[in-house]
């Protein structure tokens, strides 16, 4: 009897091993199924995020969440329903090995105190048939096939991230915009005397979108001559939000907010050509900065402030032809394009603004913050790059060599560019008869320690 008990325990142990393997397989299948559904749902979400619309993305996201939850619930139910007890595992083994319920009977009889006298016979039959019902024969260790579905889903998700990305930007455009990064710093230095610095920008797009009505990007001259312009930064920032600041690259006073009248579409089409011309202008500035055409474009901040003062307020700015100004968004788009393309050097290149956007992104909400960042561009350019610093020194010398001869007197009528000796734009940009090219503001480089003095001077002038 003792031997029988041991053998019965052995049989029970082997059936328990079968039970554990089958339950493990059930868990694996359920988990793989749930994971497959979850990955497929994630694939759907990613695909729609890459290619679909925002509304569709919301629907897809919640559908994916619901599918994942349903799959999880189904997996739990599946595990619960497929969980085998020891007796059920014995029945499974009986069925698979063709034992006609011998194992289940033996297992149940092992718990009875008075076993049948025929039990040894049954035990012997089970022992003889052991190769048919052991754990390795009935449930070999293997990974369920459902894992292939999971792997396929994961592969689909991975491949989706490679092939379903949105179309990459045009390499030519990429190439055209990339080299401007380096000259842009010089360009800032070349043109920054008119603006001193760009106001903080919140984002790359905002950096490119130079809104003329914001006013917070106005030059010191503007603020100095126009109290309204001085108050403008805070107002404009509060009004425009994220578009409020960061547009100091534009010369509000000289353009009068109407510099974007040539049409964004046309300018966009001419962009590569404009870039080339801009490159040439930068090269001229770097290599032959003593060219009269370049230096003559420099204008004093005083004239800029005057022009700005002559310009109508931002609320009722009108084009030179008298037509009302377009909405601010349209103007922003126009300036975004124009800021890249204007060859006359009055505009800061977008990459220039982009370069400055990171450092000054936080100071866009208030006018004071914008004002405190006025000299940041020049300072950072000087501190960040020795070459740029040298270039700044060179440009400072240029400013000294080309003094205020181009600076008109206060109250005098605006002088056309040709009348002032400013050559026609090299890119052949044509102006209307009433239009004059923006006179580049010529400003001296003010070191930070002298900033207070400059402010005091202009304030007194006011």
């Amino acid at each position: 009897m003792l031997g029988d008990s041991l053998e019965l325990a052995e049989v029970e142990g082997r059936i328990r091993a079968i039970q554990h393997r089958l339950n493990g397989l059930t868990i694996q299948r359920a988990v793989y199924l749930a994971a497959t559904v979850a990955v497929l749902a994630a694939t759907l979400v990613v695909a729609i995020a890459l290619r679909g619309s925002a509304a569709l993305f919301g629907v897809a996201f919640w559908t994916a969440v619901a599918a994942a939850l349903a799959a999880t619930a189904y997996a739990v139910l599946r595990i619960r329903s497929g969980w085998l007890t020891l007796q059920q595992a014995a029945r499974f083994a009986d069925r698979k090995a063709g034992l006609d319920d011998r194992l289940a009977t033996l297992l149940s009889r092992s718990r009875i105190e008075s076993p049948s006298c025929l039990q040894p016979f049954l035990l012997d039959e089970v022992r003889v048939a052991e190769p048919r019902w052991n754990a390795d024969a009935l449930s070999p260790r293997r990974v369920p096939r459902r894992v292939y579905a999971l792997l396929a889903a994961v592969a689909m998700l991975v491949m989706l991230s490679f092939y379903a990305r949105p179309p990459a930007p045009d390499p030519a455009q990429e190439h055209a915009s990339t080299p401007q990064t380096e000259p842009a710093a010089e360009d800032v230095l070349f043109q920054s005397p008119t603006t001193f610095a760009s106001a903080p920008q919140q984002s790359e797009g905002d950096g490119r979108a130079a809104s003329p009505q914001d006013g917070d990007g106005a030059t010191i001259a503007e603020r100095s001559v126009d109290p309204a312009a001085g108050a403008a930064p805070g107002d404009a920032t509060g009004r425009k939000g994220r578009h409020g600041a960061g547009n100091g690259a534009l010369n509000e006073g000289s353009s009068g907010g109407n510099a974007s009248t040539s049409g964004g579409e046309q300018l966009a089409d001419d962009r590569p050509d404009m870039n080339e011309r801009l490159q040439k202008a930068i090269q001229r500035a770097l290599g032959g900065s003593e060219q009269p055409g370049t230096t003559s474009q420099l204008a004093s901040p005083r004239s800029a402030g005057r022009e700005h003062r002559d310009a109508p307020p931002s609320a009722d700015r009108r084009r030179p032809d008298g037509s009302p100004d377009r909405p601010s968004e349209s103007r922003q788009a126009d300036h975004r394009d124009e800021a890249r393309q204007r060859p006359d050097g009055d505009r800061v290149a977008p990459d220039n603004a982009r370069a400055q956007s990171g450092a000054s992104a936080a100071s866009t909400d208030t006018g004071a913050e914008a004002r405190s960042g006025l000299f940041r561009g020049h300072a950072s350019a000087r501190a960040g790059n020795n070459g740029e610093h040298a270039l700044a020194l060179k440009l400072g010398a240029l400013q000294g060599a080309a003094p205020s001869q181009s600076e008109p007197q206060r109250g005098s009528p605006p002088v056309s560019g040709e009348a002032r000796g400013i050559p026609a734009p090299p890119g052949g940009m044509m102006f209307a008869e009433q239009q004059v090219p923006d006179a580049p503001l010529h400003k001296a480089v003010v070191s930070p320690e002298h900033e207070v003095i400059v402010r005091r001077i202009f304030t007194r002038d006011e």
Partner: protein, 386 residues
């Protein structure tokens, strides 16, 4: 009205007063001994020998009956299963199909006492059980109990539905209790006590259908159809020739009853797994209509069957479940197994349950066969096998 075999009656009386003691050397004795001790002594080979002995005995008995009974192999097997299960069999068949021949041949092959009672309307209970007679012996009179024809190992109750219910109930007590009470004295019937009753489905006029309580006492109800063409030809040829086939007894006369009892005890040792007991229980419960006020409560493995609800007034009693398991055990031994399987239960479900379904008027109007209803249940229960 009774047909007796005098030697059998004598042996019967002996068996009643002095039951034959089983031989300690026989294999079957080990089964009859206390089970706990025997279980320790039996090894696998001895247990296998017991199973083989049962299988051989059964096969020889069936072959011996086949010498006389042409065809009806399934009927003979079911009768033998009932015999070794310790139950009684109700055979329903038209006259002339060999019902009496089967029972008589079985008695001869087993070398057991055999009596036949032809039930008629005027048959009284005392005609079956026996009566007390006033005998004068040595100058003084005394009452002596004269045993009736029921005191036999194998009893054929022919056309049992022609007797009155009073007489039928006398047989009822004997079948259930395996004892007879006459004039306040109880007499044990000699084991094995095996009753085969026949029902004549025709000439129903003047008959008394068996009450459900009495039907429930029968382990199996076997249908004896007309023989097929080939069987009919062989029956005609063999029974009309000069050489009448003879049955040779398989067991010695004094040990036959004990041998049968040993084999019956072996059947009880066959093991049944709990889920198979549950399966048999579910089958029995499925025969009970849900709209019955006696319907069982609680969940069942098998859903309610529409046909059962429509045509059945009362389903099977727990005796049906007992019949299922006992018959399944015999079938397991016939398959040289010591455990019951689903197939064993299914094979005996129809003969074990068909007479326990009480059909309603709608079923009789639609000529519904209770066997078909049970077969529906078995088909529905196939899913439980997995």
């Amino acid at each position: 009205m009774t047909e007796r075999t005098p030697p059998a009656v004598e042996a019967d009386a002996t068996a009643t007063e002095q039951p034959p003691a089983p031989s300690p050397r026989s294999i079957g004795t080990r089964v009859a001994a206390p089970r706990a001790a025997e279980a320790q002594r039996l090894d696998a080979d001895s247990a296998r020998a017991l199973v083989d002995d049962f299988h051989d005995t059964f096969a020889r008995l069936r072959a011996e009956l086949a010498k006389v009974i042409v065809g009806y192999g399934d009927v003979i097997e079911e009768i033998l299963i009932a015999l070794f299960s310790g139950g009684h069999v109700l055979i329903e068949g038209v006259p002339g199909t060999g019902k009496t021949l089967i029972v008589r041949t079985l008695g001869q092959a087993l070398n057991l006492s055999f009596n036949r009672i032809q039930f008629t309307v005027d048959l009284m209970p005392a005609d079956i059980t026996g009566t007390r007679l006033l005998l004068e012996q040595d100058g003084h009179r005394e009452l002596v109990f004269a045993r009736g024809p029921i005191f036999a190992h194998v009893l054929l109750a022919d056309e049992i539905n022609r007797a009155t219910p009073k007489t039928q109930s006398a047989l009822l007590e004997a079948m259930a209790e395996r004892q007879v009470t006459a004039a306040g004295t109880t007499y044990k019937l000699p084991p094995p006590f095996f009753v085969l009753a026949t029902l004549n489905p025709i000439e129903m006029e003047g008959t008394y259908p068996l009450p459900e309580a009495q039907l429930d006492r029968f382990l199996f109800k076997v249908l004896l159809p007309y023989p097929s063409g080939g069987e009919m030809q062989r029956i005609i040829g063999s029974t009309t020739s000069a050489a009448v086939p003879q049955v040779s007894p398989l067991l010695p006369p004094r040990k036959a009853a004990a041998r049968i009892e040993e084999l019956k005890a072996l059947v009880r040792e066959v093991m049944v797994a709990p889920h198979l007991e549950e399966y048999a229980s579910a089958l029995v419960r499925a025969t009970i209509p849900r709209n019955s006020k006696f319907a069982p409560r609680g969940p069942t493995l098998l859903p309610a069957d529409v046909e059962i609800n429509r045509y059945v007034s009362f389903g099977s009693s727990p005796r049906g479940g007992q019949a299922l398991l006992l018959g399944a055990k015999v079938r397991a031994l016939l398959a040289r197994r010591v455990n019951v399987s689903y197939e064993d239960i299914d094979r005996v479900a129809v003969p074990a349950l068909n007479h326990r379904l009480v059909l309603n008027f709608a079923a009789r109007a639609d000529d519904v066969d209770p066997r078909a209803l049970i077969q529906r249940l078995l088909d529905a229960a196939k899913r439980l096998h997995r």
